[in-house]
């Protein structure tokens, strides 16, 4: 376990070094986050109405609701992108085979390579919320940070399962996974990113409840905006963990099988 954590840290340090060799994106992302937070603030002011306030959870403004939905949806993007990107970059740069002949397994390589994108997403989320709190009154003071951290961990675990499934597809078929884009599209519609699931037609609400994004955003909003503790958010949190328990081992199993297939067909490093 300690060795695995060390291995994961190696990948984080590698990606940090590579990213810091570019520099400017860090500054640009800070500025982009400011514009992003401001956009949500002004959209929220524009669309504010009694009907909207009725549809939102009690005491929540549309600005805080949509900002949390938007920034935490980024974790889904990071999960679905980082594993694929890791695999594609390793294949294109020729580092995939040197990685595979080390003593670290490919699932660890994949998970390790997602640590930095997740850390970067967390930083981006913090900057967005920071701008929101500093300039537009986002209520950071009411958050239950322990619950936020636990929800975040459960979110990362369940979303990682989806990302690993996607990279298994990429390993086998060499091109981007169309179901990834379908999943992103359906999640942005029914996941509760910009509007509550309760305003959707009944059948779409059923789809929403089969999607981990719905539970992740529910639990995160409750912990961050209402200061809800672990007991209060137990239901969405447990469902999220259930997704993780099912998705993670299944996706790693599917990925390992896909890797075996590519070693049989000799297409491991094919593009």
């Amino acid at each position: 376990m300690i060795q695995m954590l060390r291995d994961l840290l190696l990948f984080f340090r590698r990606d940090l070094r590579i990213a810091s060799s570019y520099r400017s994106p860090f500054v640009l992302e800070l500025i982009e986050a400011l514009f992003g937070a401001a956009t949500f603030y002004y959209v929220a002011r524009f669309v504010d109405s009694p009907q909207l306030r009725e549809a939102l959870p009690q005491g929540t403004s549309y600005f805080t609701y949509s900002l949390v939905g938007f920034v935490f949806f980024d974790y889904l993007h990071a999960a679905l992108d980082s594993f694929d990107k890791t695999l594609e970059e390793a294949r294109d740069s020729g580092t995939l085979e040197p990685l595979l002949v080390t003593q670290v397994s490919l699932p660890v390589v994949l998970i390790g390579s997602s640590v930095y994108p997740f850390a970067l997403t967390t930083l981006r989320v913090a900057v967005y919320l920071g701008w929101g709190a500093a300039l537009f009154g986002f209520p950071l003071g009411s958050a239950n940070w322990l619950a936020v951290v636990v929800v975040l961990a459960a979110t990362l675990l369940s979303f990682s399962g989806l990302g690993i499934f996607s990279s298994a597809y990429l390993l086998l078929f060499k091109r981007g996974n169309p179901s990834k884009w379908f999943f992103l599209g359906i999640s942005s519609l029914v996941g509760g990113m910009l509007f509550p699931v309760s305003i959707l037609p009944g059948w779409l609400q059923i789809v929403a409840h089969l999607n981990p994004v719905t539970y992740a955003l529910d639990a995160m909003r409750a912990a961050l905006l209402d200061g809800a503790g672990l007991a209060t958010i137990a239901r969405p949190l447990l469902i999220l963990l259930l997704f993780a328990v099912v998705l993670l081992p299944t996706s790693i199993g599917v990925f390992s099988w896909a890797l075996q297939r590519t070693k049989i067909t000799g297409t491991l490093s094919h593009r």
């Binding site: 060390r6 340090r13 070094r17 020729g94 040197p98 595979l100 003593q103 590519t262 067909t265 000799g266």
Partner: protein, 299 residues
């Protein structure tokens, strides 16, 4: 046994060595570092269009290795010689656990490449013959440190080992420059250094001097012969198209043709048995190929 094979161990001998392979090696009864037993590897045809979706499930039909059996003893250097497509790289990639054989078995340091890949990986160093395989925006030292740590080498070991090898490979300031600024020859030296970093028992090198200039290639061969093979007793299986290199490094030469092993013997014995003046002539006699075919650029 394929017709025309010279001095390949008999099947019975192979089978008995193989059946006791792992125990024998672990107990020191056998000194084989690599045992390859009736190894076959076939690939499926490449599909395009919508049929590409079936590619991962296609049946293997193109034979790259057709029942190869050979051993490499501890401390021995064996060269793989053959024209492009003869199966040299495929054989090395099976041993490096990057391919799973269709039939037959391969053991490295007593561990089965298909069933115990993690154990196999602890025991070999692999150079793929390409000048890719590094992170372009990291320095040579950062790259080597990263891969060294992935082989669970300690910080303190790497801090002494990397500069020592870099000095021996005359890498100079290349170690502290981003890889994207290095020549392909320098990157190839880094790649060879990476293969040697964890002092493996077995070295698998695919065209180790392909991108090196003549001086660097000669220096590398001297280092490999004196330090790695003779002093450390590392076993070496390497593919090469450079006949003088093979004569300098190899104790025995395995000549491959169309995925078959057609000869396995010392360079001198091969020449004597074929009545040839040179290894080039012996190669032509044994394979029917003009030895100039060896110099064709890789496809």
């Amino acid at each position: 046994m394929p017709p025309g094979v010279i001095c390949v161990c008999g099947r019975e001998e192979q089978a008995s060595l193989f059946s006791c392979g792992r125990q024998a090696i672990n107990t020191g009864v056998s000194d084989s570092a690599i045992i390859i037993d009736r190894l076959e590897k076939s690939f499926p045809r490449a599909y395009s269009g919508w049929r590409a979706l079936l590619q991962p499930f296609a049946a293997p039909s193109l034979a790259a290795l057709q029942g190869i059996s050979l051993q490499v003893r501890a401390g021995e250097a064996v060269a793989l010689l053959g024209v492009n497509g003869a199966g040299k790289s495929t054989l090395l990639r099976v041993l490096a656990t990057l391919l799973i054989p269709t039939r037959g078995r391969a053991l490295v340091a007593g561990f089965d490449c298909a069933r115990e890949p993690a154990a196999v990986r602890r025991n070999f160093g692999y150079h793929a013959g390409s000048d890719l395989g590094f992170y372009a925006r990291l320095t040579g030292r950062e790259n080597l440190g990263f891969f060294g740590h992935l082989n669970h080498l300690s910080d303190s070991f790497l801090k002494t080992r990397i500069p020592a090898l870099a000095e021996r490979f005359e890498l100079g300031d290349a170690l502290d420059r981003q890889v994207r600024t290095l020549s392909s020859g320098t990157i190839q030296r880094l790649s060879l250094l990476r293969a040697l970093l964890h002092q493996p028992k077995v070295l698998l090198l695919d065209e180790p001097t392909r991108s090196l200039d003549a001086l660097a290639a000669a220096d590398f061969r001297r280092f490999l012969k004196a330090e790695v093979l003779q002093r450390q007793g590392t076993s070496l299986l390497f593919a090469s198209h450079t006949l003088p290199e093979i004569e300098i490094l190899a104790d025995r030469v395995a000549i491959l043709k169309d995925g078959n092993l057609v000869a396995l013997d010392s360079p001198e014995s091969l020449k004597a048995k074929c009545g040839a003046q040179s290894l080039e002539q012996a190669f032509s006699v044994l394979t029917g190929h003009d030895a100039r075919a060896l110099e064709e650029p890789a496809s």
